[in-house]
Structure formats: structure tokens, C-alpha cells
Symmetry: C2
Subunit: 269 residues, 2 copies
């Protein structure tokens, strides 16, 4: 017998069984929320992190194709490699799939923990959520994590057990096709539990605040308030977050509304 | 009788009955496709156009809130006002709703005509399509127009009758809630007709082309190919476009997948 070869084989099998977990965010490579995510994911498998070099909040599902992008390595330790990318969160997913996971897709994509809520309609504007959506488009179980707490020095470590538990269950059980998870954490440290919820129906009512520069030219800052159309809905993410629950909303990626096809037949010509 | 007042009243009613149409795009204020759209829309009502100052292709549903934005007026004629904005297509919708349509929402939002196809999954990355989505979120009938022809000097004037006809029908008949239309035109000048279709199921397979700069640092250009998972589906936008039809795809804005809520109950804790 050749124990050398056997040992090598076993090692190889062991390595093959390690889960491959990809981590990104939209707050950038240095964000606290990203570090919390990496710490939990390394308990579950081999972590590759590619995160934007700078903040990409509000970048939604944007991609970079009019300029090139570049990578810089930050960490190279057993079980953790991390890089920054001069691109968007969705670029991070795309370059990971093309240049790092060349043989096999990752088992899980996680994005966040975002500094700021992505509940309800906010999900559509978020770069953090977009990264998970891009994972879903590629048929990879994907989860976006966000906290309603966007204080600069927020401490997210109390979310760790929830991040671990949700991720571990999803690696095992998977997610329905063309769906991804949008998880939001409440501000409180006394989280009551997790609830699979639906996103509250609502809209942002924008206000562009007008200012003038020193040369008397006007400019506008985007501000606004979220208007919740169903503030009493007890199974909505907005309601549950206010009650102190972490919410897990399965989002169906935008697609053809088959019901409308017959309703709109007057457009055929 | 005071004919002066009567005439004024009639004039006022006439003005009130004029439809209010908002126009934007992602190729920027100077794009040919935008001009074609404005020309058709002015036949249908009073046009306000706010378009990005520069190209915003691939910007998806991004918004600008870390920097301010500014407006510059380009046209001020009877029935047409146009401005450029130092922001994204979705910013254009938001500033229009906040600062221009202060009393009443527009009757129709149109975006495009995009220089390049936005069929199938491309819709999710497109700034042109995102503007229409933002209209849909605000419960305004909204249509994105794109052409598969992305040649620099492409002539889109042969699309005009279709742009007019689809827009006129939608102003009259409306669109189901939380749905917007994604229209794509084929390359040919001999368009066979219009078809309400579904988006072909597919994905972009990315390739990041590696290059090195003069200082031997590597960088990557995003390229890729569309992979159509259902090339034989005769009611898909991809198939119909190849056959020479203009396709009209009703897209349902991403939302909670209610079916998944019970399937994922193992995540409640």
C-alpha cells in the first residue's frame, strides 16, 4: 500500500468537501459588516471575498463595462482569500465566477452586512442586495444581509449567530430557483428571533433639497422618506423589524408577468 | 357674456387635457434614440425630457445620494422642455416627480430608444429599462424602448410609427399594477409587426479579458456572451426579434416570492 497516495487522496476528498463561500458587500472592503460576515463564513467553509474598493451604496445592479476594473489582494490565509475590486458589487460576483470559480460554482454567496436597512422597496436600489440577486440569476443560493443601524461605529457582532445559522441552513437546504434571500436585522441587541416575511408595500417619496454653490449655481441633494402603504401588516419586514425580529424575505427576481401577456394582446399588430 | 373669460376657460381645459409625457434614456441627452422618442411623444402631449448628461449604460437601478446632482436646460419650446442631469436614469425620474410634476404625475413615462438590445436578462442591467421600472414603482404607465442595433450612426426613425402606436395605446388603456413594458426593436427596417412576448430565459456568461498596463499592472475588461436557455421558444423576445418582430415584454417588478415563504419556514426561529 502506498499511504502517501492514500493520505493525499483523503486530503483531496477533505478539501473537495469543504464548502466554497463567496462574500461581498457594497460598503467596500474595509467595512465592519463585511468582516463580521467573513468571520462567520470561515466556520462554514473556504471563503473568497471580493468587495468593492470604495462604497457602492445605491449602485443597485450596475455593471462596469465602459472602463476596465482591477483587483488588489488584501488577505491570503488558510481558508480566507480577500481582494478589493475597482467596480460594483455585481462586478464582484461576475469576476469571481469567471476568474476564481472556474471549475465549480460557490455553494453560497453572502453579501453585507450592509450598514443601513434594505427592507421593502429599498432592496431594488441596494448594491448589497444586487450582489445576492446576481447570485440568484446564476442559480447559486444567495443571501443579502443588512442592518437597520447605519451609525458609523455600529457594532454588528451580535448578528453573528443569526448570520451563521441562516447561512448554514441554506447551504444544506438550498433556495427555490430564481429566488434569493434578503435578510434585515433590527437595531436592538435583543433580537426576538427570525421570521420569513414579505416586503412591506411602499415607496420612497423623494425630496431633492436645493442648494446653491459659491458661484450661485443650483444643485440638488437626493433625500426622502419611505412611505409604508401597509403599516399594519404584521407579516411585513417593516413591521417585524420594528418589533425586534430579524426578517428573511425571499425575493423573486424580476421577470415576465405572464398574466399580462393576454391582457396586453391589443398591442399585437 | 365675457368672451375673454370663456376663451380663457376653454384654453385652460384644453391645456388640462393635454397628456403629460416624460422622456429619458441612459445613452445621454445627445443620443439619437432620445430625439426620435421626443419627436413622437410631442404628437401625444406635452413633453418633459430629463436625460443623463453622459452615458449611463449598465447603470441599472442606481441612484445618486453621496453626491449632489445638477440640471442644465437644453430646450424650451411650446410642448417640449428638456434638461440634462448629472445623474442616473432613475435619478432623472425621481427629480422629475419631485420638482416638475408637483401637482400631477405624468400620464406616461418613456425611456430610450436605447442603442443596444435590452431583451431577456439584459433588462436587469440596463439604465434605460430601470427608468421605466422606476415609473412602474410609482404606478405610472412606463415603457422602455431599445433597438438591437448599437451601431454608432444607427438610424432609428423607422421605429417611429411603432413608438407612437404603442405609446398611444398605453396612454389610453394603461398597464397592470407593478408591471412595466420592455420593448425591443429588431435590426431590420422591414419590421413584421409587434408581439407581446416573454423574455427568453438566459444568462450572460462573462469573460473578463486580462490586460496589463504600461507599468505591468493587470486590469480586466468585462466582456461576455448571452446564453439563451430556450433558443427554440417561439414566443420569446429573443426568437421574435431574430424573426423581425418588435417585442413587447411586460415585466413584473421584483417582489416577495410568496410561494417560498412556507417552503422556507425552517428559517423561522
Amino acid at each position: 500500500m502506498n499511504f502517501g497516495i492514500l493520505a493525499h487522496k483523503n486530503y483531496s476528498i477533505l478539501m473537495q468537501n469543504r464548502k466554497k463561500i463567496f462574500v461581498t458587500n457594497d460598503d467596500g472592503i474595509h467595512a465592519h459588516g463585511l468582516q463580521v460576515l467573513i468571520e462567520e463564513m470561515k466556520k462554514l467553509g473556504d471563503v473568497l471575498c471580493i468587495a468593492p474598493e470604495r462604497t457602492q451604496s445605491g449602485m443597485s445592479h450596475a455593471i462596469t463595462f465602459s472602463n476596465p476594473v482591477s483587483l488588489e489582494q488584501h488577505r491570503d490565509e488558510p481558508g480566507i482569500k480577500s481582494y478589493s475590486l475597482t467596480g460594483t458589487p455585481v462586478d464582484c460576483i461576475k469576476i469571481a465566477l469567471d476568474r476564481f470559480y472556474t471549475n465549480e460554482k460557490p455553494d453560497l454567496i453572502v453579501s453585507g452586512i450592509n450598514h443601513g436597512s434594505n427592507s421593502s422597496i429599498c432592496a431594488i436600489y441596494s448594491g448589497t442586495v444586487a450582489a445576492a440577486r446576481e447570485g440568484g440569476i446564476n442559480n447559486i443560493p444567495s443571501i443579502a444581509f443588512s442592518s437597520v443601524n447605519f451609525e458609523k461605529n455600529a457594532d454588528f457582532t451580535h448578528y453573528s449567530p443569526y448570520v451563521y445559522s441562516i447561512s448554514e441552513k441554506i447551504i444544506t437546504q438550498g433556495i427555490p430557483e430564481y429566488v434569493f434571500l434578503n435578510v434585515n436585522f433590527p437595531h436592538t441587541k435583543n433580537i426576538k428571533g427570525t421570521r420569513v416575511s414579505h416586503q412591506a408595500k411602499g415607496v420612497w417619496i423623494e425630496r431633492f433639497e436645493r442648494r446653491t454653490d459659491p458661484h450661485d449655481r443650483e444643485y440638488f441633494w437626493l433625500t426622502g422618506n419611505f412611505k409604508n402603504f401597509e403599516p399594519e401588516a404584521e407579516d411585513s419586514d417593516e413591521w417585524l423589524l420594528k418589533e425586534g425580529f430579524a426578517t428573511i424575505t425571499p425575493l423573486k427576481i424580476e421577470k415576465t408577468d405572464t398574466e399580462s401577456i393576454s391582457k396586453l394582446s391589443f398591442l399585437n399588430s
